[in-house]
Symmetry: C2
Subunit: 174 residues, 2 copies
DNA sequence: GGTCAATAGTTGTTCTCTCAAGTATTTCTG
DNA sequence: CAGAAATACTTGAGAGAACAACTATTGACC
């Protein structure tokens, strides 16, 4: 890939003498912008890597894995639609259709709440748990490749902490 | 949102006594999985925040900003389609259509290479530069809110370095 | 108890991306 | 120089997700 990491951090040169030299007049090279760009690009890169690995193994897409993993990790192997939408960071409308697909594939099932008839659960079925067990090693292997090869365990943990701090849980409407 | 950070790292309890206690039988709670989840969720959160801010200011979507910023940051205020696709981490097919939209909006222009007639450039137009100048403060402000409020400048820089290392530039086909 | 707002999910539309195939241009080979 | 392979980009079809509008259920207030 093109090496775009030569940044103008030390550029204190005059901005009008060399013609083509950009001196970041807009401020898109601030540390925060840089960090955000790295975040976006790294996410895209890793995500693409995972999707590719799953596709090569003839397994369903990453979103299915995230969903199955989220449900499997919950206490009762079932999750409310709303919680699931938050966990996967997609809209509720999007979730409804994603769940539809998994239901159609026989991996999960819709169950309902006795006490509040508005809520419905996505409940893991045996077939879903089985598929998840097939997907986990593929994802783990790819993650090892991406993480373990380049980051120490301490770094990985540190990264997680920083990212969690960055995400915060701010719900400032505006 | 729901506090899912209570992890089973220290869980050495017997896994069969308490019924509903999950002991991560699949390994989806390894440091690398955790870090990846944080990466995905933080990216989605920040990205959503930026998009929302832009929408509220009645400005074009984030993808347009990324594109304009990438072109503006290049030496000649123009970029080859291929380079642009890599910078934005989307496929070339996707880029063609994204460029189409920006061209239709009068923000950029397609120019061609004299020496190699296969390559075409996306070239910034005055209107695009102007719009970019409107968008930068909105994005910067939102980024400040997300980053500066929660991360020290050193942390932000550290984050960038770690993410860049993680992304690597490995092109291992398979 | 009846009405109104709030909450939980679903549906239809639209947009954008990916994938696979196609065109045009250049480079390599004989 | 002709033909094959490689490169750069475009096109068309399909899937996935966001957005807004909708239904159903619950809880609050009079």
């Amino acid at each position: 890939m093109s090496d775009t990491s030569a940044l103008g951090t030390e550029r204190t040169i005059s901005q009008g003498s060399s013609g083509a030299a950009k001196a970041d007049p807009l401020g898109t090279c601030s540390p925060h912008h840089e960090a955000w760009r790295s975040l976006a690009r790294t996410h895209a890169a890793v995500s693409g890597r995972l999707q590719e690995a799953l596709a090569q193994a003839e397994l369903p897409p990453l979103a299915w894995f995230e969903m199955l993993a989220a449900i499997a990790a919950s206490d009762e192997e079932r999750m409310k639609m709303g919680e699931l939408a938050e966990a996967l960071v997609i809209t509720r409308g999007g979730l409804t259709k994603l769940v539809d697909r998994l239901v159609k594939a026989g991996l999960i099932e819709r169950t309902f709440c006795e006490t509040d008839r508005r809520v419905s659960y996505a409940t893991l079925l045996p077939a879903g748990a089985e598929l998840l067990e097939e997907m986990v090693p593929v994802v783990s292997a790819e993650l090892e490749l991406a993480f373990a090869a380049r980051l120490s365990e301490h770094q990985a943990d540190d990264l997680r902490v920083t990212l969690d701090a960055l995400r915060g849980t701010a719900c400032n409407g505006d």
